[in-house]
């Protein structure tokens, strides 16, 4: 991949630091005192998920990473890998548990997900913001209680555990926000 200088840094710029792909989440130009200028950044290491404060000398060149976010259809899981397909080229990629992370709780076959590819291989998966999941296990529902007061845990068919209102029963289909794992409504 190419290189850029600190002048090209923007939020979202993808870099290679310590051999690992990173994304810039904050970038500030400073010229303290009468001395040299710096770019103070916060970078998110995409493989490990850690965020690090990193300062570059102004004008320094930095290696960029071939990281792209692409919309793909989730197709299936074979017990070890999760498979995604590019709907335009029908090309498939396989993502391991590390790349899929918590998204595995929200993956439904045929759903469109955003897959982050580094040099063509998946390193992250973002499910749709809202998914419909079916309850496979929870305490029996309290008939007539639709007030929403109180909650209980419910296990979904994907394995996700969601806090739900007391009236929810096994077999109900629920709309869940994948960004915070919260119950939204009955589907």
């Amino acid at each position: 991949m190419g290189t850029i200088t600190t002048n090209d840094l923007r939020n979202g710029t993808k870099l290679i630091l310590d051999g690992e792909p990173c994304t810039v989440v904050d970038n500030q130009f400073v010229r303290p005192g009468k001395g040299q200028a710096f770019s103070k950044t916060k970078v998110l290491y995409l493989l490990t998920g850690r965020t690090v404060e990193k300062t570059f000398k102004s004008g320094e060149s930095i290696e960029t990473a071939d990281v792209i976010d692409t919309d793909m259809d989730y197709i299936y899981n074979d017990g070890e890998f999760w498979y995604f397909m590019d709907p335009n080229t029908f090309e498939q990629v396989q993502a391991d548990a590390n790349a899929v992370g918590d998204a595995k709780n929200y993956l439904i076959e045929q759903d469109k997900c955003q897959v982050t590819l580094w040099n063509g291989s998946p390193i992250g998966v973002t499910p749709p913001n809202f998914v419909i999941l079916e309850v496979t296990d929870t305490d029996p529902g309290l008939r007539g209680d639709t007030s929403g007061g109180g909650s209980k845990p419910a296990t979904m068919h994907t394995g996700a555990v969601v806090k739900v209102p007391l009236f929810v029963n096994i077999g109900d289909k629920l709309k869940v926000d994948t960004r915070n794992g919260e119950y939204v409504s009955r589907a």
Binding site: N7, Q28, F29, V30, R31, P32, G33, K34, G35, Q36, A37, F38, K40, V52, E53, K54, T55, F56, K57, S58, G59, E60
Partner: protein, 317 residues
């Protein structure tokens, strides 16, 4: 394209115009003469980390947009102008951020017979005149603030100690930084945001001699320079000196800068001989200060980004 519109509101533009008028009044009351000097000149500064905009075909040669009006104003002082002030544009390459724009408005002034302590007092009077609320002045030495906020003496701390402390507080840093780089980064991150809160304006003085720029060294403690900076609401507003009047020392600093530039693969800057000749003829004893007017207006109007006080920042210019 919605980018044709100004980023500052029309209300802000009106407030800005009023502030400029009050600044001019302040200097007129003190018999300090308003002057104008060229924005485009033959020479620029040798400062190690300053990048000037070069202009081709200026008077059959190369020219530069000024990074500050300092040399020209000192030529006026040497020619007998008496105390002077100027409101002008200054230009610095690659400086873009919430508090930087490559083109900005500078208020620079020089008072004959003042030292930097007297000038600090006058900067405070100006800010107090412009502020809606009465302000308090606080004065702290460079050494004081490092001792207070970081428990280190900036004149005694070693580079390995600085590297360790900076690593703990600031995360990953470039290698091969010098002592002044660490001090500047620590100051910017750990001290500056805490200086000059609410209605207090904070003056920092007693900078290390290695950061003297165009300031005299303090004859009583030559490890410090007669230089001050002004902080208000955590923003650096101004930088002032008891001005260096010794031509030999000035030439030596220019040549050291150029030697450093050569070593570090940067272009060497031609030395402004008009300026040095003026120093040779004699710069009257004086103190001078440069104040970022855009930043000051931003604070006075309680805004947080320079684009809110500029009609058209660089990306819309």
């Amino acid at each position: 394209m919605s980018n044709w519109k100004p980023t500052a509101s029309i209300e802000t533009m009106k407030a800005r115009a009023k502030i400029l008028a009050r600044v001019r009044e302040f200097f007129s009351e003190r018999n300090i003469l308003e002057v104008e000097t060229p924005l485009l000149s033959r020479h620029s500064v040798t400062d190690r980390y300053m990048k000037s905009f070069e202009v081709k075909d200026f008077m059959r040669g190369e020219g530069f947009l000024q990074t500050s009006p300092e040399y020209a104003m000192k030529r006026l002082l040497a020619a007998g102008s008496g105390s002077i002030f100027q409101i002008c544009k200054a230009f610095r390459q690659d400086e873009v951020g919430a508090r930087h724009n490559p083109e900005f408005t500078m208020l620079e002034w020089y008072v004959e017979g003042f030292d930097h302590y007297q000038l600090m007092e006058q900067v405070f009077q100006l800010l107090n005149t412009l502020s809606h609320k009465p302000l308090k002045l606080s004065r702290l030495s460079y050494q004081d603030v490092f001792e207070q906020y970081l428990k280190i003496n900036p004149f005694k701390v070693t580079v390995p100690q600085l590297a360790e402390l900076s690593g703990d507080l600031l995360g990953d840093l470039p290698e091969d930084l010098e002592s002044d780089d660490y001090l500047a980064l620590l100051f910017e991150d750990q001290i500056e945001p805490k200086l000059g809160q609410a209605n207090e304006v904070c003056f920092i003085y007693g900078y290390p001699a290695s950061q003297a720029a165009l300031a005299k060294l303090d004859p009583e403690s030559p490890q410090t320079a007669c230089r001050f900076e002004v902080y208000w609401r955590g923003v650096e507003l101004a930088n002032g000196f008891s001005e260096l009047t010794c031509v030999a020392e000035q030439r030596r600093r220019f040549e050291m800068d150029n030697a450093w530039r050569k070593e570090n693969g940067l272009p060497q800057m031609s030395i402004d001989e008009h300026f040095l000749t003026a120093l040779e003829v004699g710069l009257p004893e004086c103190a001078g200060v440069a104040l970022g007017l855009d930043r000051l207006i931003m604070i006075l109007l309680e805004l947080s980004d320079l684009t809110e006080v500029a009609a058209f920042p660089a990306d819309r210019a």
